[in-house]
Structures are given as C-alpha cells and as structure tokens.
C-alpha cells in the first residue's frame, strides 16, 4: 500500500530535477514556449491524476485495475465489477478532478494577488480572502441562499471582495502599500474570520452546514460531480479573464506609474483582475473550505523555474497547482487510512515552513 503514494512524490521530484537543470530563465516568453510548458505540465497533471485514481484505502489491485481500464477502452465495456466502478468513477475520479480544479483556482488567484499587491508572500489564505469567502458562504447557507442559483458561491465571492477592500484599506497608507502591513492586516483579518466561523457554526444548527474543520482547514472529501462542474466553470471564466490581462499584469508588477506610462489603464485592469481572482477563490472556497498556502507555494516555485512573465506563470501555476493539490489530497486520504485528514493539514504542513523560508530569505 505504502509504495503507491510514493509514486506521485517520485514524479514531483523528477519534474523538479528536470525543470531546474534546464536554464529556462534565459528565454523570452513566446506563444510556443507557453504551449510547450503547458502541455508538459498538463501531462504531469494527467499522470498524477491516473496514479491517484489507483491509490486509496480500498484494496483494488493496481495491475488488475489497469487491465480492466485498458480492456474497457478496447471493448467499450469496463470489465470491472460494480463496486469498483463506483469507487473509481463516483468517488475517486470526481474528487481528483475537484482537487485539480481547486488547486488550479487557488494557484491562479495566488499569482494574480502576488502581482497586484506586488508582494511575493500574498496568498488568498494568508491575506484572509479565503476566510472572508468562507464567512460569506456560511452566512449564505444559514440564510438559505442555496435556493437562489449560484447564491452561495456568489456570497462567497462577495465575502472575498469585501475582505480585499478591508485588508487593502488597512494596509494602504497615503500612497504606499507596505508589504509587512499587508501581511499583518491579513493575519488579523484571518483571526477575526476564524472566530466568526466558529461563532456562526456553534450558534446555528443548520444541517447543511459543514464542520468547523471543513471551513478552517479545507476538505475535498465531499466532492461530487455537481461541485466539479461549478468550480470548473468559474475557473474557466476567471482564468480566461486573468490570461487576457496577464501581460498588463507584468507591467503593473513593475510599478503602477510605469504601467500607466506604458499605456495601461491601471485602475480598470486592477479591478478586473481582483474580481476574477476573487471569483475563482470564492467559488473554490464555498465548496472546499479554506485550503491554505497552495496559492503561495506554487506561484513562487513556478516563478523560480520559469521567470516572472505572467503569460507563462499563470497557466503553469494553475496546472501545477492542480497537480499539487491532487497529490496533497491523495496523501490526506491515504496516510491515516481508513481515517482521513483534511487536505488543508497537508498543505499547511508544506506551506508554513516554506513561508518562513521565504520570509527569512527576503530579509524584510
């Protein structure tokens, strides 16, 4: 059993060996390079998804499953018994795809927040944006907003946007936005939202409301196809918008005045990008809880490997963020099997030390 979940880890490390040995920083971003890197990372994504599909607490022989899947492709009929089909296609597959989408959403949002706030430590979770989205979603569930189409994700997105306004308002003094103040504002807002979440969940007895753990640590175990479609749809919309503005984001990263002098309508671009990033964060949080640090680790790693151009950074982070969360979730459901860990435990265990490392290295 144990050997199975070492396979994804192996693939990850081999990817890094591959990526770090190439002198990728010397190349300018062109469309063909974006496509090549994206295809490569998509292949990694597929391989990791397949392996995760075959790994789990129920003992399904790997070779047997592969044979079953392959013969199924040839004959058109899967020669698997019903329970195996159910486990694979109704439990594991939606969860894996869901993890991929949530990971991609949080990483893409992380890239945009880091760029807009010009702060490599920004992340939807650390800045309290995920927390705000969670509060919005919980209020929606208590108030019965689920009867309105997109009611709960809509409230989560509003929560995320309000949090951005709040954190930005606290951190912005006169013309400058101080990195440290921004992070401190995020910490405080996060602490406040955690308290609000605890309060709301303890004082209401709504059956639809999930546990405190779900909202504070994040959990992908309740994934169903409907959630996959919801998050996938909004990720697609948000990502297209972000990608259209990705070159302008490069300019904003080099300074807002500079961006204006190079012809960017900075205020409008910022608003559109904040809206798109809040959209994908809010929707992901409303169905997966607040999974931390994905939006911090992945963009940063990709930036080290591929450079700072957002036209490459954005798709690469989304794809690799998806793979990362699939691996994290596979670990979450297998390490203590048959019990499960919330996936946020795994991401925080990787992310918090990484954050400290970044903080020290930057010598603030």
């Amino acid at each position: 059993m144990l050997k199975y979940f070492f396979i994804p880890i192996f693939i990850f490390s081999s990817f890094f060996v591959f990526a770090t040995t190439r002198n990728v920083n010397n190349k300018v971003v062109t469309l063909s390079r974006v496509i090549r890197v994206s295809l490569f990372l998509f292949a990694v994504f597929i391989i990791i998804s397949l392996i995760s599909l075959l790994v789990g607490p129920s003992h399904l022989g790997m070779i047997y499953l592969l044979k079953g899947l392959l013969s199924g492709i040839y004959s058109g009929d899967l020669s698997l018994i019903a329970t195996e089909k159910t486990i694979l296609f109704s439990i594991r597959l939606p969860r894996i795809i869901f993890a991929g989408i949530v990971g991609a959403s949080l990483s893409a949002a992380g890239v945009v927040f880091q760029g807009l706030f010009r702060n490599p430590l920004a992340d939807p979770y650390i800045l309290g944006i995920s927390g705000g989205a969670a509060v919005g979603a919980i209020i929606g569930i208590i108030a019965g907003a689920s009867v309105i189409p997109f009611g709960i994700p809509g409230l989560a997105v509003s929560g995320a946007l309000l949090t951005i306004a709040l954190v930005y308002g606290i951190a912005r003094t006169k013309k400058e936005l101080h990195s440290t103040t921004l992070l401190l504002a995020g910490v405080i807002v996060n602490a406040f939202f955690s308290a609000v979440i605890m309060f709301l969940i303890s004082t209401t007895s709504s059956k639809e409301l999930r546990s405190v753990i779900f909202w504070i640590m994040g959990d992908l175990s309740l994934a169903e196809w409907s959630e996959v479609i919801l998050t996938g749809f909004f990720l697609m919309i948000g990502f297209i918008v972000m990608y259209v503005y990705s070159r302008h984001l490069n300019l904003i990263v080099s300074g807002e005045e500079t961006a204006m002098q190079l012809g960017v309508n900075v205020e409008q671009t910022k608003k559109i990008l904040l809206l798109a990033a809040s959209l994908v964060t809010g929707v992901a949080v409303s169905v997966s809880g607040t999974i931390g640090f994905v939006g911090l680790i992945i963009p940063h790693m990709m930036r080290m490997l591929l450079g700072s151009d957002h036209r490459l950074l954005l798709p690469a982070s989304a794809l690799f963020g998806g793979s990362f969360l699939i691996v994290a979730d596979t670990l979450a459901r297998t390490v203590t099997a048959p019990a499960e860990l919330p996936v946020g435990v795994i991401t925080a265990m990787c992310g918090a030390p990484y954050f400290i490392y970044l903080l020290r290295r930057r010598a603030v």
Partner: protein, 276 residues
C-alpha cells in the same frame, strides 16, 4: 509647430496648489530642462505632461491634440518616461523589461513579434545593454539599470522623452554617460527631451532651454545663460551661490557656497563670493 504645449496649467493636490498658471511650449527636437527646489512642483509638472495626473485648470496639447482626447496607449506611443529608479520585486530579465516598452504598440495580450524583438534589440544596442540582456534587472548596478530604463523608453519609439531626475543615484561618470546618450538621441533622432533635474550644472551643459520653477509657477524660462544667473538661483533656492563660466564650454557654472564663513575656507580669500 510645438510638440508639447501647456496652457495655464493649474494643479491642486488636496487643496494644496502645486502648480499655478504654468504655460510653455516645447519645440520638436528641443532639450528642455526643468529646475527648481524640492517641492516646487517639478515632478508634478512631469506627471501632468505624461497624463498620470489630470490638471484641474488649463489644457495640454501634444502634437496639436488635446491631452484629454488621447487614450492612454496612444499617449504612451508618443511619450516615454525614464524614471528615477526602478527596483523589481519579481525577477524580470533585462530583455523582458525592454520588451515591456513595446506594450503600447501591442494589443491587450498579443505576444511580441519579430518587429518588436528587432526594435528592442536596437534599443539595447543603442544603450549598450545588449550584453546584459539575459541578466536579472535586480542584479545590475544603478548605472546599468538606468541604461536599461532608457532602452525600454526607446523601445516605445517615442517622440518625446521625459526624464524624472534620472541621475539622482548615479556617480559623476554615469551622470555624464547618461546625459551624453540622451543628448545623442536628442540630436540624431530629433527626440524631444524634457528633463527634471536637481543638478544645475548638468542642465546648463545639456539643455537648450531651462524652466526655473518656484512654488509651482514659472519663475523664469530661457537659455541656460538667461536662467542660470546668480540673482535667479538665489531667489528661487534661497541659497548663496556664485555663477561664472565653465572654463571649457563657456556655459554658466554654479558654485555652491556655505553660509558658515568659518567653513567657507578659501572663499574669504578669493573675494569672488558675492556679498549678501
């Protein structure tokens, strides 16, 4: 025809009047210097010209078109700015920075094409930064970074280049190198240059005309010989200076004088110091 024309520009920053009744014209191919003490409105004036700040009064004409009617990206095709300093939070390479100058000529998300790469390469050759092309911007020295920023501005293919105290962090050699390069571009490519500087002597050496700002209005304007006179400098900067001629070029030269006679050493002996 004048390429830049300001008509009675007034700008307020939260009730604080920063610019008042500023009118002047800059001809195509002219090198215009803007001098003035801290807080006299030099940088604000520059930001008004490049459209970052909107003046409450008056109007600006670029190439005969009112600035209000120009879209941001169209303005950026005409005016490029070389800022004082630009530290990157994220590691962009020199080539990436220079290519950013192509932004106003590209659509929202188009990738740079052959022409854009050629223009960027030319800009890097002109500024002698081609060998730095693949280095990270943050790994360069201040002088090199400043040259990269000129290359980025050149990649914009502007008609007007604005300089915002570009040599503030440079040593004398790099200051001269910088202005020589700008002067060459000004002469050979008939690039119009409007530059803010603190260094009166550099302005005297390179500018065709100089504007001396005081409390947001034009105190005087004209050739270096006309503007850089003891009386003007003393009035505007409220500081004691001596002005004579640069022994090599014959341009006016400013010498700073301490107001503490005991530290003025040679001054009392020379007798050249003007008596207040």
């Amino acid at each position: 025809m004048s390429i830049v024309k300001l008509e009675q520009i007034g700008f307020k920053y939260n009730e604080h009047q920063v610019l008042k009744n500023v009118s002047f014209e800059v001809k195509k191919g002219e090198f215009m210097g803007i001098l003035g003490p801290n807080g006299s409105g030099k940088t604000t004036l520059l930001n008004v010209i490049d459209g970052i700040l909107m003046p409450q009064e008056g109007e600006i004409w670029i190439n005969g078109t009112s600035c209000n009617k120009l879209k941001r990206e169209n303005l950026a095709k005409i005016i490029a700015v070389v800022p004082q300093e630009s530290l990157m939070i994220f590691p962009f390479t020199v080539q990436e920075i220079v290519l950013m100058g192509r932004a106003p000529h590209l659509g929202k998300w188009r990738f740079e094409g052959e022409t854009d790469f050629n223009i960027a390469h030319q800009a890097m050759e002109m500024t002698d930064t081609i060998s730095l092309m693949n280095r990270s911007m943050n790994a360069l020295s201040a002088g090199e970074r400043q040259r990269v920023l000129i290359a980025r501005a050149l990649a914009q293919q502007p008609q007007i280049m604005l300089l915002d105290e570009p040599t503030a962090f440079l040593d004398i050699r790099h200051q001269i190198d910088f202005f020589d390069l700008i002067k060459a571009l000004n002469k050979n490519q008939t690039l119009t240059v409007i530059g803010v500087t603190h260094d009166i002597n550099l302005a005297s050496l390179y500018c065709d005309r100089i504007i001396l700002l005081r409390d947001g209005h034009i105190h005087c304007m004209g050739s270096p010989e006309e503007v850089i006179a003891e009386s003007h400098i003393r009035e505007v900067y409220e500081t004691n200076v001596a002005v004579d001629k640069n022994p090599v070029t014959g341009q006016p030269r400013v010498t700073l004088l301490s107001s503490h006679p005991s530290e003025g050493g040679s001054r009392s002996n020379s007798g050249a110091a003007p008596q207040l």
